[in-house]
Each structure stands twice: as structure tokens, then as C-alpha cells.
């Protein structure tokens, strides 16, 4: 029971800082992971399939505060450890899968910006992927006494089945030429092109001599290209994580929403029919995003039939962890208790003798939160966790203080979702029945 798990200081600080800010930490996730073992093994199965040259498609559906983002990060960490390249992005009003006003290219740029590898888990790893591809080509050229450029060309021929591969190969070659000619400008332009940051074709032609750029209409094609390319560079495959899919549900324009759903359908078809290779998609969103039959994925006939629940599993009262759609349940008080012990562990760097609080205090903390904000303390635990981390920080810095004196004064507010920031100066006590308004 009392196994001592070493927690590195870097991970410890990252976890504490992130939790304090109310966001998911990027490092050391496994130290605070609670439950969900079946779901995770389902995803590990997916990752293995991608690494074997297959494809995967998953929808992670859970209510606000159920830990979707945490789950996605965890999956991402596992994928990196298994040698995949990952890209991830949150959808937002100006980032979506399909658009005619630059919003799809925005999404692509964000994905590429967050491209990570095992050695560069914090993103911005695209140029090192390209470097690795080039290095392998140089090695092969030297071994066979060949021209590097023709080796690059040879290797990139394997992309030729994909739309847009011609210019893609040209850009990679340009990167190599830039390296040869000591032109950092050309190299920077090549990376800019791969990042999807050119906004006009003219600009790209002047810089790199290519006729096309990443634009709204070919984002998915470029993701497929990238999936193949990372393999050529020696990685196992590409995992694409998209969070906050509910923004598609919220799109104010029916036509553009349907176009986005159509794009999801074609990705889903490619992945599940096996036409896509070495690439996987994990999409996370709230129940509305999936289930709403007027504005959600279910409003699109073809998606509804593909994504509906496993009828037999439902009838048998069990969960099918291989289903395309995984539902994450909200946390329970028991889960929160385990989570609090893990955070205590993190503070103590895994050393039980350094615990800042006894078990009794954890229960006291939970019942205090329950009194103040009711079941929201475990259903949407962001603020609960934040308050707990604050409490531990205070205790850590002021060892003379007693936890019993502090708990009663802890300020914890229910975590309420909104896309609009709250008006800070405004009083909060005059909203009457609008506080927990139901239509």
C-alpha cells in the first residue's frame, strides 16, 4: 500500500502550478490519474494499432468537468511514450475542421504548433521531425554513396498517393537545400509552410516556388500527409487530439456546422474502413456535441448510425470499451478522495513522512466543500482541486499553521461553465432566479 513512488521535482512543480491555475498539467499526469483503467486500455489498444500502420477514431464524450481534457493529455503522453508523434488543439470560434474563412487553416496551424515527440513533449517539434527525416536520408546517402537530394526524393515518393504530396516533397527538399546553402530563410519558410502559416499562394510561390499552400480545403489531406511523413522520419505514426468539439455544436451557422460534420464523417470513414494509415483521431466534447439531434453530430444521419451506442452492451448493462464513442462519467466522491491523496503525494514528492495533512483532513476538506457548493465539488472538481492545492501550499510555507484552523475558511466557488468571461467588478448577489436558471 505504502509504495514510495519517486516524483521528480520538475513534474511536481508542473503539476502544482497547473492545478493552481485550473488547467491540466502537461507533465507527470500519471501521478494524479484516478480510475478509468478500462478506458485507458481501450485507447492504448488504439495507439498500438496506429503504431502498426493502422488507424483509429474515438469520440470521448463527457459532461463539463468530467476530465475529458485530462484524459486526452494522458492518452497523448502514452502515445508519445510509444513513439508516436502527437498534435493537439482546442476547437474555438476561429478554429474548426471546415471553413471558408481561414478557420480550418487556423486549426491546422495550431495543431502543428503543438506537434510533440517523446523528446520534445511540450510542442514545437515539427522542425526536429523534419531534421530527423533529413538526417536519416543523409545517413542512407552516405552509406550508399548516393546524392542526398535523390535519396530524399526517393523516400518521399512513398507519399505520392496523397493529395498535395508534390508540393509537400518540394518543401522538404527546399529545407534540405536551405541547409546545404546555409539559407536559414529558406529553412524558416519551409517550416512556416509546413506549419500552415502562409496565407496566400503568391507569398508561398515567391518564398519556396510551390503552387499550393495549406488552406481551408486541404487541412485533412495535409494531416494524412503528415501521418505518413512522421513514419518516414522514423516515428510510429500520428495521433491527432481535438478538444472542445462542442464549439461545432455552438456554430451559429447551420451550413458551416454541417460542413464540419461532413468532414468528421469522412475522417471517421477513412479511419474505420482502414483507408487511412498510421493516423488516429481522438475527439472530445460534451454530450450535446454528440447527442443533440438538431445541432449535434446526431443531427447528421450518417454519423448517427455510425456513432450510436452498442445496443447489446447497453442491454446487458455493460460498457463496450471498444466502441467508437467512449462516455466518461463524472467523478464520484470516492474518486475525489483518491485524487486528493495523490495530490498530497505530489506535494510530498511521494514520501509519506512528508505528508502535509492526515487522511482525516482530506475528509474534513471534502465535507467542507460539500457544505459550500454541494455535489458540484466532485462533479466539476476544478475549483475543489484548486482550493486543495492552495491549502497545501499555505501549509507547506507556514508549517506552524494547523489544518483544522484553515479548512473552515477555505473559499471555494462552484465551477460554472461559460464561453464569456465573468464581469469581475459586478456584484453576484442580485441575479435572483438566474443563478441556476433552467429554461
Amino acid at each position: 500500500m505504502n509504495k514510495v513512488r519517486k516524483i521528480r521535482p520538475k513534474e511536481r512543480d508542473a503539476i502544482i502550478l497547473s492545478l493552481k491555475a485550473g488547467v491540466t498539467p502537461r507533465l507527470g499526469l500519471h501521478h494524479i490519474q484516478v480510475g478509468r483503467t478500462k478506458e485507458i486500455s481501450g485507447l492504448i489498444h488504439d495507439i498500438d494499432r496506429i503504431a502498426d500502420g493502422g488507424s483509429a477514431f474515438r469520440l470521448i464524450i463527457g459532461e463539463y468537468g468530467s476530465g475529458k481534457t485530462f484524459f486526452l493529455y494522458l492518452v497523448r503522453t502514452i502515445a508519445l511514450e510509444k513513439g508516436l508523434v502527437t498534435v493537439n488543439a482546442d476547437l474555438s470560434p476561429d478554429r474548426r475542421l471546415y471553413s471558408t474563412t481561414g478557420h480550418a487553416r487556423n486549426l491546422y496551424a495550431e495543431l502543428m504548433h503543438n506537434l510533440s515527440t517523446r523528446t520534445k513533449p511540450e510542442g514545437n517539434a515539427l522542425s526536429s521531425v523534419v531534421e530527423r527525416f533529413i538526417a536519416a536520408a543523409v545517413q542512407e546517402a552516405e552509406a550508399h554513396n548516393n546524392n542526398v537530394e535523390s535519396v530524399i526524393h526517393q523516400r518521399l515518393l512513398r507519399l505520392s498517393d496523397f493529395v498535395g504530396s508534390y508540393d509537400f516533397a518540394k518543401v522538404i527538399t527546399a529545407y534540405w537545400q536551405g541547409h546545404e546553402n546555409d539559407s536559414t530563410q529558406v529553412q524558416a519558410d519551409s517550416i512556416r509552410w509546413l506549419h500552415g502559416e502562409f496565407s496566400t499562394k503568391t507569398e508561398a510561390r515567391q518564398a519556396l516556388g510551390v503552387r499550393s499552400i495549406v488552406n481551408d480545403s486541404n487541412v485533412y489531406d495535409h494531416l494524412k500527409l503528415m501521418g505518413m511523413f512522421v513514419q518516414l522520419a522514423g516515428y510510429k505514426g500520428l495521433l491527432v487530439n481535438l478538444d472542445e468539439m462542442v464549439h461545432l455544436y455552438k456554430l451559429g451557422n447551420t451550413r458551416s456546422r454541417l460542413s464540419n460534420f461532413e468532414q468528421i464523417l469522412s475522417i471517421l470513414n477513412d479511419c474505420l474502413q482502414g483507408t487511412a494509415h498510421s493516423i488516429g483521431f481522438v475527439l472530445a466534447g460534451t454530450p450535446e456535441f454528440l447527442l443533440d439531434t438538431r445541432k449535434g453530430l446526431f443531427s447528421y444521419e450518417a454519423l448517427q448510425s455510425r456513432l450510436s451506442e452498442n445496443f447489446f452492451a447497453k442491454k446487458a448493462g455493460v460498457v463496450d470499451y471498444n466502441a467508437t464513442t467512449l462516455h466518461l462519467a463524472n467523478m464520484s466522491p470516492e474518486d475525489i478522495y483518491v485524487l486528493l491523496t495523490k495530490i498530497r503525494d505530489v506535494f510530498a514528492k511521494g514520501d509519506e513522512s512528508e505528508y502535509l495533512l492526515p487522511d482525516e483532513a482530506l475528509k474534513g476538506f471534502m465535507s467542507h466543500c460539500n457544505q459550500v457548493i454541494g455535489d458540484a465539488y466532485f462533479r466539476t472538481p476544478r475549483n475543489t482541486i484548486r482550493a486543495f492545492v492552495d491549502l497545501l501550499s499555505v501549509l507547506e510555507q507556514n508549517p506552524r499553521l494547523k489544518w483544522r484552523d484553515l479548512i473552515g475558511g477555505i473559499n471555494v466557488a462552484a465551477d460554472r461553465n461559460s464561453d464569456m468571461p465573468d464581469i469581475i467588478a459586478a456584484k453576484d448577489d442580485n441575479v435572483g432566479e438566474l443563478r441556476n436558471f433552467k429554461l
Binding site: E63, Y64, G65, S92, P93, D94, V246, H247, Y249, K250, G252, N253, T254, T286, P287, E288, R294, K295, R416, N417, S418, D419, M420, D422, I423, A426, N430, V431, G432, E433, L434, R435, N436, F437, K438, L439
Partner: protein, 721 residues
């Protein structure tokens, strides 16, 4: 300009100083002098009030441009909001050279500017943005994520023709937009309002920023007063034919007096505008003279309107525009020699505006008013006998001379505009909690009258129509129908725009025509001051092809009735009681005046407010239209057959005794409840999104918008029986 002459001048950016020198200005106008220091401080709101063409625009732009030239930052630093596209084009032209000397880019932005130009400008926002409220609304809906970077360094919001916004749905939209913009960028931005002189300037200042978060300075011009030359001409309309014959006489006089100079002829309605423009043009042709009379109203195409504006601006050719309110606002059309008002003026403030167009550069303002009344016969109606139109015109002039203007109306709910703002907010952010929406728009924003429980009711009636819906975690998001509303280009305006046909001749756009009176092939119409034959009506593309021709009648336009204020009616009552005729009446008008007085005296209206003839009872409360209508509803509520007739309430099938008893009864019980009264009104839907509201909300809104319970109740209390 000597240095000692102007302290304020020295505070300006030297580029601006150079510009002023170069344009040969010898001194700053008084309002400019006063405005500079206040605006340069950038710490308070400023209301600049003066007549048109007294340098209000410069008073605002000299110091604000100086400020941003001295503190250049990325993004738009000044947003100038104008109610009219034409005014934006005009200001763009006027400000261009000023902005060039201080290297501040100037971006005009409205519905007629090409999308490509807008896209380019918005990708590199800088300097001054000239925009309409509707285009600003569309930025919130379509460019939500780019608002923050584009406006984060905003230093001033300048609102032109501010008086035109006061009390309207559009004004409410403007407030909401300014408030939302300040919320997005997280700071209050000084507002500079340019306004015509209205009676209660402190009231205007309060209206500029309802929550009073920033101090406000009111700057009024103390220039010497203008001399006014005024004539009121009366006309008698005989019989009741379709086409009034007085038009012939009035246009004859207009033709004789106005030809050869530049003038504005206000004809109260678009239909009349067309009628007079056509008549006057034909007179020119008949005499073999070049045409000088052109119509100008909102349904004419941009090109047609701009041609006339340009002609007036250049002032080379004598030009008279027959116009509606479109030329009441401050588009720079140079000075005109005189103003003609055809028909009864309804509001003092509006007449003041029109008058401001005449008599620039120290010349007297010239106003000719043309009032027509029906010929009296034995069967003439009481209201005709009183010569109501003439007396109203005189009352309005009286109040104008006393410098009284209609105050901003009582605070209203503006539910229709609230619908628009809630939808726009949802489109801007995606999903928002109900309490946040209320806090932003109602608690801290312009819809202060809306309480949480009313707002809850409001949201539920929107949900009933599938305008909004709610997610599991409580967020309000757009419903299916809400999406459709937001996606439509009509969404951005707070006011109602009827569906319209486009009128074309030889592929050139002439303007638009509302659909509610459909045209048929081979119809004849009068439009843009000319007579046309309808060649083809394309119902699918909503286009009507026209060809010049001879015949034609004036089409019906969509119009709204102006409300006459209590004070105007009280002034009329004084006029009837105190019988000295005004010297500016011509002979016919004088006779009409005498008719009116004898009508008044015969009815002994000085002593009585309830009189009767063979068929009806008439009540004269001498109150404005709102109170009049409210009283009428009171009587209806108690079962009387009452309706409003001009300035009195007419009641059929009753007796004076019964009516007095009713008044007595109302007074002794209590005022009928709002919903009891408003439920008598069949059509309470007056604004754009009213159809989405529950009956309760509609009634609340209607009672503030169209009724005046206080005034009506006061009359009931006071009325001696």
C-alpha cells in the same frame, strides 16, 4: 492665428496646427476652443452641442486625432459611429487631408464598402474607423475573436448625430454595442457625442452613458443667435379627390420662389416627396427650363442620392431637394437658401434640425411652411373646423422660438433590441450562462429596466420559439431558428426593414420599393421624381424593370407615424384661448386661423373639454398622442366606443352624462392595470422582434412605448365634472 489668441490651439499636435494654418482658418470656433482640453485629457465623456455646420466634427477630431498622433498604438484608436452611410462617406472625404498630415489611416466601413477592402483593413486595423451601428454589430457576430486585438487600444468613441439615436431602438443598440465593446477590451472608453442643440443637455449627457461610470462635460455653442425669416402659407383643399388639388398650388408657389436657388423641401412622407418632385420637374420641363428639383429619400438608390448630395455640396447649379428625414441629419450639403416644410410638422426637435440647414454663414434662416386644410361645409367634422394642422404648426414654431424641445422619452424595455443583442452575444461567444447575459446587458448595460425575473421570462419566451436553447451544463446557446435569424443579413439592424423590390431602368438601379403594394406589369408609377411604365416584375429576383413614360401614380411606402408631444398640444390650447394671430401667416392662413378660433369658441372649448354634435361626443384633453391613446383605451375598457381622432377622443353612441359618470367612476376606483388596458390593443407588435415575446412582455413593453399612463391618469384626476 496669434499665439495668445488660443491656448487650446497650442495643445494640438503640430501636424493638426499646420493643417489649420494651411486651410486659412483665422481662429477656432468657440466649441472647438472649449472641446480641445476636455478631449485631450481622454478621461471623460464630452457632449458637443451646436447647430449643423458650426464645426462640431472638427471640435471632436482636432483633439482626438492629436491625441492618437501623439500616442500611436496598434489597432483602431478612434471609432466614429454615424447613423447614416452617406454621412460616413462625407466625413471620410472631409477628414482625409487632416488624417494624412498626422499619418493616421482612415477606414470607412458600412454595407456599401466592398468586402475585400474591409477584409484587408481588418487584418491590419489602425487609426480611425468610421462605421454604422449595423456594421459594428456585424463585427461582433462575424469577427468576434478579432475584436480584442483590433480595439484594445481604443481611445475615443465619437458618435455623430447623437440626437437621432435618443430614445430609439437603434440608440439602444448603439448603447449596447458600446457597452459590449468596452467589456471586450476591459476598459471604459471616453465617448464624444456630437448633437444638435436640444433643450435639456444634461439629459443628453445622462443618456450618453446611462451607468454614469465616467464624468461628462457638456459643451454648448454660445454663438449669436440666427435670424429667422418665416412664412406660413395656408391652402384650402376642396372636396375629397384622390389626388389633392392643393399640390398644384403649393408646387406652383415652390416653383416660383425656389427656382434658381438651393433649397430643401421637406414633404413629411416619401409618397409626398415623389409627388412634389415629379410635379416640380414637370413644371421645369413645361417652361423649357433645366430641372432643379430632385427627390431624396431612403428608398432611392445610393447613386441617385449621392448625385443630389454632390450637386448640393458643389453649389454650382441651383438645386432643390424634395426630401424626408434623410437630409435632416448632418450630411454636409453646403448651405441652402431656404427650407420649405410641406405639411404639418410633428416635432419641434425635427423642425429645429431642418431649420439648421438654412441660413449658414450669417444669413438669416428662411422657412416656408405650407399647410393645407379642408374646405368647410355644413357637414364638416369638428376637427376640420378647428384647423388643427395650422394650429399645430404655429404651436411647434412657438415652442421652437422658446427653445423647447421634446425631451428623451421615458425609459423603456426595448425587448426587441434585447432579443437582437442576446442573439448577437450568443453568436459572439458561443455559450453563456443566463446570469452573465443579464449582468452584461441589463445589470451593467443599457437594458436596466429589465429585472432578473423579467429576463427569465424573456429567455423562456425565446426558447419557446426555438430561438435559444440550453446545454446540460446550463449554457444558453442559439437555437435552430435563432441561428437562422443571426445568419440573415437583416439581423444587424435593430429596426424593421420591410421586404423590398429593386427598381431598375436599363440595368441601372433606381432604388427600392416595399413589397406590400405589389406592382403589376403595365402599371405606371412615379419614382425618383419621374414617371415610369412598369415593363416587367421579376418576383423571383425581386426586381422591377421600368421605362420612362407619361402617366403614373405615387407608390405606397412604409412609414411610421410621428408622436405629438403633450407640450405641443398644451401650446395649441393656449393659442386657441389667447387669440392674437401671428404676423407670419399669409392671407389664407390668417383666414384659416380665424376659422379655427371661431370653431373653438363656438364649441366653447375654453371652458369645456367635452362637447357633442349630432353623432358623437368629443373629449379634448389637450395632451400628446400617447396620453390621448391611453385615455381612449380607458374609455374602451369601460365599454365606450371611443377612438382617437386627430387631437381629440371621439365617442359614439353615448352621452356626455354617461362619459362624465365613467370618468368619475375611474377616478374613484383605481387606475386600470397595465395588462387590462394593453389587452385591448390588438396589434402590439411594433418592433422587429416583438413577435417572439410573450404576451406579458409585449404588454409591458407596449405600455412604455406607445402609452402614457401617468399623463392620462393625471388628466382623469384633474378633469372637472
Amino acid at each position: 492665428m496669434t499665439q495668445s489668441a488660443s491656448q487650446a490651439f497650442n495643445e494640438l499636435h503640430e501636424g493638426i496646427q499646420r493643417w489649420i494654418w494651411k486651410h486659412g482658418w483665422t481662429e477656432l470656433r468657440d466649441i472647438q476652443e472649449m472641446a480641445i482640453t476636455h478631449i485631450l485629457g481622454a478621461q471623460k465623456d464630452v457632449v458637443i452641442s451646436a447647430a449643423t455646420a458650426t464645426g462640431k466634427t472638427e471640435a471632436a477630431f482636432f483633439p482626438s486625432c492629436s491625441y492618437i498622433a501623439k500616442n500611436p498604438s496598434p489597432g483602431f484608436q478612434i471609432v466614429y459611429i454615424s447613423p447614416l452611410k452617406a454621412l460616413i462617406n462625407d466625413q471620410f472625404r472631409r477628414l482625409k487631408s487632416l488624417c494624412e498630415v498626422v499619418s493616421v489611416p482612415l477606414t470607412p466601413w458600412h454595407g456599401d464598402i466592398a468586402p475585400a477592402v474591409k477584409r484587408e483593413r481588418f487584418s491590419n486595423p489602425k487609426g480611425i474607423l468610421l462605421i454604422t451601428p449595423e456594421s459594428l454589430e456585424s463585427l461582433f457576430v462575424n469577427q468576434a475573436v478579432r475584436l480584442m486585438p483590433a480595439f484594445s487600444n481604443l481611445s475615443f468613441i465619437i458618435i455623430d448625430e447623437f440626437h437621432a439615436f435618443i430614445g430609439t431602438e437603434r440608440g439602444c443598440q448603439l448603447h449596447s454595442l458600446m457597452h459590449r465593446l468596452e467589456y471586450v477590451i476591459g476598459k471604459s472608453v471616453p465617448r464624444i457625442a456630437l448633437s444638435a442643440t436640444l433643450g435639456d443637455m444634461e439629459g443628453v449627457a445622462a443618456y450618453l452613458r446611462p451607468n454614469g461610470n465616467m464624468p461628462c462635460e457638456v459643451i454648448e455653442s454660445n454663438r449669436s443667435r440666427q435670424v429667422l425669416k418665416l412664412q406660413l402659407r395656408g391652402y384650402i383643399k376642396k372636396g375629397e379627390p384622390e389626388e389633392p388639388d392643393t399640390i398644384e398650388e403649393i408646387s406652383g408657389h415652390l416653383f416660383k420662389e425656389l427656382r434658381g436657388s438651393s433649397n430643401l423641401i421637406f414633404a413629411n412622407s416619401r409618397a409626398n416627396t415623389e409627388r412634389y418632385a415629379c410635379e416640380l420637374r414637370e413644371k421645369c420641363e413645361h417652361h423649357g427650363l433645366p430641372n432643379e428639383f430632385f427627390p431624396h429619400h431612403g428608398n432611392l438608390s445610393k447613386g441617385v442620392r449621392e448625385n443630389i448630395e454632390k450637386r448640393l455640396q458643389q453649389g454650382k447649379l441651383p438645386t432643390s431637394a424634395v426630401c424626408t428625414v434623410t437630409l435632416e441629419l448632418g450630411i454636409d450639403i453646403g448651405s441652402v437658401n431656404s427650407i420649405a416644410q410641406v405639411g404639418v410638422p410633428h416635432s419641434v426637435a425635427s423642425l429645429r434640425q431642418r431649420l439648421g440647414r438654412s441660413g449658414r454663414k450669417g444669413e438669416p434662416a428662411v422657412l416656408r411652411m405650407y399647410i393645407e386644410e379642408k374646405e368647410l361645409t355644413g357637414r364638416s367634422h369638428i376637427c376640420d373646423r378647428l384647423r388643427v394642422g395650422l394650429f399645430q404648426a404655429v404651436a411647434v414654431v412657438n415652442l421652437l422660438l422658446k427653445k423647447w424641445y421634446e425631451p428623451p422619452g421615458k425609459q423603456r424595455y426595448h425587448f426587441s433590441t434585447l432579443v437582437q443583442q442576446v442573439l448577437s452575444l450568443l453568436a459572439q461567444y458561443g455559450g453563456i450562462r443566463a446570469d452573465q447575459v443579464w449582468k452584461l446587458l441589463c445589470d451593467t448595460g443599457p437594458f436596466e429596466k429589465v429585472t432578473p425575473d423579467v429576463f427569465a421570462d424573456f429567455l423562456r419566451s425565446l426558447a419557446k420559439h426555438d430561438i435559444i436553447t440550453q446545454t446540460h451544463d446550463g449554457l444558453i446557446v442559439l437555437g435552430m431558428k435563432g441561428e437562422r435569424i443571426v445568419s440573415h443579413f437583416n439581423f444587424y439592424s435593430a429596426f424593421f426593414t420591410p421586404k423590398e423590390y429593386r427598381l431598375e431602368t436599363n440595368g441601372k438601379a433606381l432604388g427600392t420599393l416595399p413589397i406590400h403594394r405589389p406592382l403589376s406589369d403595365k402599371d405606371y408609377i412615379i419614382f425618383a421624381g419621374k414617371r415610369w411604365k412598369v415593363l416587367k416584375v421579376d418576383t423571383k429576383r425581386k426586381v422591377v424593370q421600368l421605362e420612362l413614360s407619361k402617366g403614373g401614380r405615387v407608390p405606397l411606402f412604409f412609414g411610421e407615424g410621428m408622436m405629438v408631444h403633450d407640450e405641443v398640444r398644451r401650446e395649441m390650447h393656449k393659442l386657441y384661448c389667447n387669440s392674437s394671430p401671428r404676423s407670419y401667416l399669409d392671407e389664407t392662413a390668417f383666414n384659416l386661423w380665424q376659422d379655427g378660433l371661431s370653431g373653438f369658441n363656438n364649441l366653447r372649448l375654453a371652458e369645456n373639454s367635452i362637447v357633442e354634435d349630432e353623432s358623437s361626443i368629443f373629449i379634448f384633453p389637450w395632451l400628446g398622442d400617447k396620453a390621448l391613446y391611453t385615455l381612449t383605451l380607458f374609455f374602451q375598457f369601460y365599454g365606450l366606443k371611443a377612438f382617437v381622432n386627430s387631437l381629440c377622443i371621439e365617442i359614439r353612441d353615448s352621452s356626455i352624462k354617461e362619459i362624465k359618470k365613467t370618468i368619475q367612476h375611474v377616478r374613484e376606483t383605481k387606475m386600470p392595470a397595465v395588462h387590462e388596458i394593453t389587452s385591448l390593443v390588438n396589434n402590439k407588435i411594433t418592433d422587429k422582434y416583438d413577435y417572439l415575446l410573450s404576451t406579458r412582455l409585449l404588454e409591458m413593453d407596449y405600455s412604455c412605448k406607445k402609452l402614457d399612463f401617468d399623463s392620462a391618469w393625471q388628466w382623469i384626476q384633474k378633469e372637472e365634472i
